[in-house]
Symmetry: C2
Subunit: 444 residues, 2 copies
Amino acid sequence: MTTLLLLDATVLTLSPDGSRVQPLAHHDVLVEGQRITHVQPTGQADPSHFDEVVRAAGRVVMPGLINTHAHVPMVLFRGLAEDVSIDRWFNEFIWPLESNLHPDDVYWGMLLGTAEMLLGGVTTVADHYFHMDVGAKAIAESGMRGVLGWAMFGSQGQAALDTTERFVRQHHNSADGRITAAIAPHAPYTCDDDFLRGSARLVDALGVPAHIHAAEVRAQTDLSLQKRGLTPIQVLEQTGLLRQGTILAHACGVLPSDIELMAEAGVGVAHAPKTYLKLGMDVTPIPALRQAGIAVGLATDGAVSNNTLDLWEALRLCAMLQKDRARQPEVLPIAEALLIATRESARVLGMADRLGAVQAGYLADLIVLDLGGLHHQPLHDLGASLVYNTLPTDVQTVIVNGQIVVRDRVLRRIDPATVVHQASRAMQRLAQRVPAQRIQTYQP
Amino acid sequence: MTTLLLLDATVLTLSPDGSRVQPLAHHDVLVEGQRITHVQPTGQADPSHFDEVVRAAGRVVMPGLINTHAHVPMVLFRGLAEDVSIDRWFNEFIWPLESNLHPDDVYWGMLLGTAEMLLGGVTTVADHYFHMDVGAKAIAESGMRGVLGWAMFGSQGQAALDTTERFVRQHHNSADGRITAAIAPHAPYTCDDDFLRGSARLVDALGVPAHIHAAEVRAQTDLSLQKRGLTPIQVLEQTGLLRQGTILAHACGVLPSDIELMAEAGVGVAHAPKTYLKLGMDVTPIPALRQAGIAVGLATDGAVSNNTLDLWEALRLCAMLQKDRARQPEVLPIAEALLIATRESARVLGMADRLGAVQAGYLADLIVLDLGGLHHQPLHDLGASLVYNTLPTDVQTVIVNGQIVVRDRVLRRIDPATVVHQASRAMQRLAQRVPAQRIQTYQP
């Protein structure tokens, strides 16, 4: 097995209860194969005994960031749906644009977005998109870790469930275990109950998690109550999708009674704050969810609402939006924000036993940060700098599953020039909106 | 006079009414001395005729960003007052910390913050801080443009006004015209009416603008009304400070009647959205202010609330927070955000006739951006990328007053290693809080 030594770093750890940031100065991280074997004071390990050494003196090592909800290939549509209402965003922009998508576009879009994320310190993504077979190929090649679901609308019927089943059987646990498959119906308002039940049967049969949008805004909850007397969360419960391991995207419009159901079921929530601000949406009630014991993780959503896949920006917006909503700057302090970005994001993906901490036995998904930039100086408080000052460009080296995939800001497995060229090639066709042609209608 | 050619850039311009982004592809910007002389299609100018040439093919040239309200030397205290209420922020952290300040600290802090800003594309700052004589020295050396006010509390009495008068006489219009002096009483709640009147007399006598915090949160307005039946804006009006050219920081807590007074007087408003989120404050009512014709500009405030001096982050938060507050994603569209970042920020400083546009006759404060990073690809919409995707690290070259101060991300006039060393040297002393020793008490 390949061995790797991260030498003489400041290692970010949190106190067991998550209430304090506890940096370990002058520590080494030892990796064997896919896993961390030791985190120990510098001086005990001999660098000459390791296959690869990353000299990290003066740098910070922390768990790779985890993007708990994205539509990565949508980077292709960046900047094409600006300053419009959610209604128009779906019906006049996104869904018409997506009617032009070829599998090839998804492949190059996934590689482009993955390259952006790896360079920004994101080592795992839970992605929800079309043509996920080629998406999985891109993830496998990039070296990233992914929880991948092939997006389905109810209108696509049994054929979509069959495609998903084939996808899961082929890709689950592939790429040295880096790829986990998921069952990805779009949302309660785009999938009827039978389709949701069919999705739940796949979850049972295949033993993989579900990943679905739910109660994105309060208006969806209100409309669902009007139409059928049930909230979107109650619909998920009745159809068997509200269960341990399910990833709920957004949950901005949940009621207190929904939160009880979610906590009992053991679902996790993906929180994408930039999208909420930009689209004028409600904001995930993080304190209430966490109070109920529900895991909340960070997310970027797609680049057509979030514009980038920068999870550092999501991290500080997550903390700041809760302070803003509560009108109390004490809410969601720095250690809690870092807990959400690491252990809790891992818990949303059902991987808290192996991701989200720099700890012996955990998977070696690690990032090395250079906080020497002037925007961090003087560095009085490491936690504050990580939450409020860090830019994706501060990330120097990225390790996934024990393999170095970015070294000194250079991608090792993706050629960015080729990816940008291929993604841009399709631009003209992709940028055409044919509103009559849309894969779905937004009518919650 | 030195001549400079920016060759073959995409030049950012906005339509005259500010409603559309109009990039000029393949254009040159010609500079003679401090000013832009021509903006013209590439091919007409001969590069060999210029003292300096910046090759900008595939890059974007736009006006340097303008930070309309900061306390730059507070970078020294970065990360020292996190997750605390405004009350504690002032009384237990900021004002005790500032009681340790030496002029030397201000000098190095100003250089450090200026270096961070220049590298991030900020070419002008309106700063409000103590020991501004050494602050001005740092600004002069850095090559940046500044509107500099020596912060005063009413408790300091006539001595402070005298110091300011000496400061203005010595520094106004210095550094090749890069430094404008300002009269900087802290706020209506820390300066009594006599002191504010004394400040207004200095504005009259010296012909320089005033720069003051006002109605930072609605609670200040309510308390002022309770205590004396006047809003902070009315207090400024009665004491002679609500006048053409005055820079009001924040104005988050103004009433509709205040907005009328402000519009009549011709003041400008500095908007620092990250601070408002982080401290759980109200948000500047930008649409109402702009509707009334009041100039609103972007700001970072100090790094103890904003953590960095990143004006790109302020730009996107400015747009997103208004969408959020209105619950309408159509509010504050991209072109308007860029207008606020450029021409309107210049107007807040009374410099709209010479800053904020890439236009013949304007001062040559220009930045060159490389939007080739993966987080911009594919680049469908330049305006969207500038507002929602741009990082300080995308800035390549920075020109102030016709002089190149950053070239290919290297500062030409500041040695960052020395500055960081000197700023860190004072860390131990500066980080000590002696709550009994504070320069002021927050009790609005």
